[in-house]
Homo-oligomer: 404 residues x 2
C-alpha cells in the first residue's frame, strides 16, 4: 500500500474508489503482496526447500487458498471444515497436514479417507483412536506426534503454545513412549515429529532453543523421522517499532540441525504469508467530542475484526486521502457495537478526521475474517482480491436476509 | 437444572439423552427458567410497571425472542439486523427502542419507517442525522438522548460503559445543549433520557448514584421526559460465591426518583432474563495427562462460546451423570481450537472424568450463541428449547456445506 497522488492505493486501485463502489466495511487483499511474501518465505529457506503448508485457520477464504496453492504451498488444517476447504481449493492431499488437540473420530475418519500427508497427533488417546480407525479400514496411516518442547516463545500469553502449561502436544516422556508404541503398531506409520511454540514470534532464539531440544530427543528415541514439522509462528511487524524476525539466524539453526537429521522440513506459516496482504476499509460514521476525548466511530466493529478486543492487538490505521496536516487531537477509534471492548486504537498526531472519511485498518489478512462473527446481528464484510488494477470479489457481502 | 436419579436434567429432560439424540456441542434453553426470570423481573419493579425491553444482542434467536415477546417484553436493539429480528419475532414496534453509538443513515431510515418507540441517540451528529432523515420524510420522530453519567459500574473494565472514557452517550454539557436543540426542532420530539452504565453489575450503589445524577440533570434542563430509560446491566451469579444484586434497594431508589419525576421507566435487561436459562452441552474428546496437568479436551470451543476467551469469564461446569466421587486431579477444561485462549475453566475436586463423558457449561444463555463464530471453520451448534419434557429445535446445527 502506498499513496499515489495523495490517495492510498492497494496495487493500482485507490481505496477511496473501492469504498465508494463496494461500500464499507470491506476486506481487501493484495495479490502482489501475497506473491512476494511467499517468494520471500521460500527464499529464506531455499537451501533445504521445505514443504510450506499454509495455516488455513489464519484465513479460510477458498479463493485465497487457491492462489496460495497455485504459488506452490500446501495446507495446514485443524478441523474437518478446513480440510474440506483446502481440498476444494485444489490443494493436493499429499501436501496437507492435519493438526489440533481435539480431532474427533469423524474428522480422523475423513482425513484417513482423503489420504493426506500426515495426521499430527497430540495425545496418547488420539494415537490410539487413529490406530483403531485405521485398523477398521485396513489401512496404514502416516502420522506425526506433536512434542511440547516446553519453550517460551516470548510472545503474548494468549498465543503461546509450546510451554508445558499449554494444552498442545505431549511432553518428552510421553513422546518417547508413543514413538515406541507406534513402532509396534501395524496400522500407524510414524513419519513426523511436529512442534509449534506459538504465534507472532519476533525473536529467533526460542526457535534455536526448540531445535536444540528436538535434536536431543531425536537422538534419544533413535527414530528416523521422514519429516520434521517446525510449525509456524513467524511474526510480522504490526507497528513500525516492532522488531523483525531474523530469518537468517533461524535458517542457520535449521541447517545445523539438518546436518545431524536427514529429514524434510515442514513449515506451517499463516500470518507471515497472509497478514500484511489484507486491509479493512471502513467509514467514519460519527465524530463525538466528549471532554478531552474525540471518539471516531467507524462502521467496522469487533465482529468484523476481533484481534483488538480479543488480544488487545493494536493495528496501524491510515486515511484513504492524505491531507498533510497533523491534528492536535487524540482520536479514540471505536466501532458501533455496544461494548467497551469494541475499540480499535488511539491515534495521536493523525491528520484531522471528518465524518464520512474513509479509514483503513492495516495488516488484517490473518485472523481477521476467519475470527469474524455476526455479533449484534451484523452481516459479514465483503472480501476483494486486488491484482494490479483488477478487483475480484472473492466473497460476497453477507445480507441481512441471510441472518434474519 | 437439577439431578434426577443422578442424571442432570433440564426441566424433565436428561442432558445425556439430549447429547445422544442431538449430538454435541448443543445449546439448550429452559422455558420454565425464562418464564420465571421474567416474572421475577416484573415483580421486582411492579409498583411502577416499567416497559421491559429485552436486550436482543444478548441472544438473537428469533424463537426465544418470540417467547419473550409473548411473555410481555419489548425489545432493545442495536442494529438493523436486530430490529428486523425483533419485528420478525412479533414484537410490536411501539415496544422497541434502538440504542447504539454508530447507527448508520440506513439504519435510522429503516427505524423511522418502522415507527418504533424511540431512537436513543448518542451524539450531536446522530441527532442531526435523525433530524435530517425525519425532515426528508416529513415525519416527527421520537427520540431519546443517552447521557453518560460518568458513573463507575464497578464491573469488568471491558463491559463498563458509563464512565467518561467510554464511547457511550454524551456528557452533561452536551446533553443540556442537545435538549435545547431538540426543543427547537420540528422533526424531533425528545421523549426520553437514557443511560446504561455497564453489564454484569452486582452492586446496587452505582445505580443509586446514577439516579441521583439523573435527578440533578433533569432539574437543570427542566424538560418533561415521558420516558426514562435506565438501561440494563443487572448481573447474575455465575459462580456460587458471586454476590447477588439487591433489587429491593434498586427499586427503592427508583421509586424515590419517580416522586420527583413522573416518567415511565424503561429497562433493557438481557443477561438477567436469558443468562441462566442456557447451557452448552459438550463431550469429552480426549483426556491428556501432561506432568501435573490433566487436560480435558471437550468438543465445544471458543468459537461456540467466547466469554472465557474474550472476558476471562469463568462458567460453572457440571457432569451429565453424577458419580458422587471426587477426583484429586485438577482438570484444565479446554476446547479443540489451536489457541491457548481456547480454555474454559479449571476444575478442582470435580468428579473423575472419562473420555466420552458429557459435560455442561452453565449460564450461557446471554452472549453465548450471539457471540459465536465459525473460527477454525467449525459449524455453529444446534439450539434447543426445553419445555417440560418437550424438546423443540429452535435453530438447526450448521453444516459443513454451509461453510465450505
Amino acid at each position: 500500500m502506498k499513496y499515489i497522488n495523495k490517495k492510498l492505493s492497494i496495487e493500482k486501485v485507490a481505496v477511496e474508489n473501492i469504498a465508494k463502489k463496494y461500500k464499507t466495511p470491506t476486506y481487501c487483499y493484495s495479490y502482489r503482496q501475497l506473491k512476494e511474501n511467499i517468494r520471500n518465505f521460500k527464499k529464506n529457506f531455499k537451501s533445504f526447500s521445505p514443504l510450506i503448508c499454509f495455516s488455513v485457520k489464519s484465513n479460510t477464504n477458498v479463493n485465497l487458498i487457491k492462489e496460495i496453492g497455485k504459488l506452490g504451498l500446501g495446507a495446514d488444517v485443524v478441523s474437518m471444515g478446513e480440510l474440506m476447504i483446502a481440498i476444494k481449493a485444489g490443494i493436493k492431499p499429499k501436501k496437507i497436514v492435519f493438526s489440533g488437540v481435539g480431532k474427533t473420530s469423524n474428522e480422523i475418519d475423513y482425513a484417513i479417507d482423503k489420504n493426506i500427508l500426515l495426521i499430527n497427533a497430540e495425545s496418547e488417546s488420539e494415537i490410539k483412536e487413529i490406530e483403531r480407525i485405521a485398523k477398521s479400514k485396513k489401512k496404514k496411516v502416516h502420522v506425526g506426534i506433536r512434542l511440547n518442547p516446553n519453550t517460551d516463545a516470548k510472545t503474548l500469553k494468549q498465543i503461546s503454545t509450546g510451554k508445558k502449561e499449554n494444552k498442545f502436544g505431549v511432553n518428552e516422556k510421553t513422546f518417547c513412549e508413543l514413538v515406541k508404541y507406534c513402532k509396534g503398531s501395524k496400522n500407524i506409520i510414524l513419519k513426523c515429529l511436529s512442534v509449534h511454540i506459538g504465534s507472532q514470534i519476533l525473536d529467533h532464539r526460542p526457535y534455536e532453543k526448540m531445535l536444540r531440544i528436538l535434536d536431543k530427543i531425536i537422538n534419544k528415541v533413535n527414530h528416523k523421522f521422514e519429516f520434521i514439522d517446525l510449525g509456524g509462528g513467524m511474526g510480522i511487524s504490526y507497528n513500525n517499532n516492532d522488531k523483525k524476525l531474523n530469518y537468517k539466524r533461524y535458517n542457520i539453526a535449521i541447517k545445523k540441525f539438518l546436518k545431524n537429521n536427514k529429514s524434510k522440513i515442514i513449515f506451517e506459516p499463516g500470518r507471515s504469508i497472509i497478514g500484511d496482504t489484507g486491509t479493512l476499509v471502513s467509514k467514519v460514521i460519527y465524530i463525538k467530542k466528549s471532554g478531552r476525548k474525540n471518539f471516531v466511530i467507524i462502521n467496522a466493529a469487533m465482529n468484523d475484526f476481533m484481534r483488538p478486543a480479543l488480544y488487545g492487538a493494536s493495528h496501524k490505521m491510515l486515511p484513504s486521502v492524505k491531507k498533510n496536516t497533523n491534528s492536535k487531537k487524540t482520536y479514540e477509534v471505536v466501532g458501533p457495537i455496544c461494548e467497551s471492548t469494541d475499540k480499535f486504537t488511539t491515534l495521536k498526531s493523525f491528520q484531522e478526521l471528518e465524518e464520512n472519511d474513509f479509514i483503513v485498518i492495516c495488516d488484517v489478512g490473518a485472523y481477521g475474517m476467519s475470527l469474524s462473527s455476526n455479533y449484534n446481528l451484523r452481516p459479514k464484510p465483503i472480501e476483494l482480491l486486488i491484482k494490479g488494477s483488477k478487483i475480484k470479489i472473492i466473497r460476497k457481502r453477507q445480507k441481512h436476509k441471510d441472518l434474519v
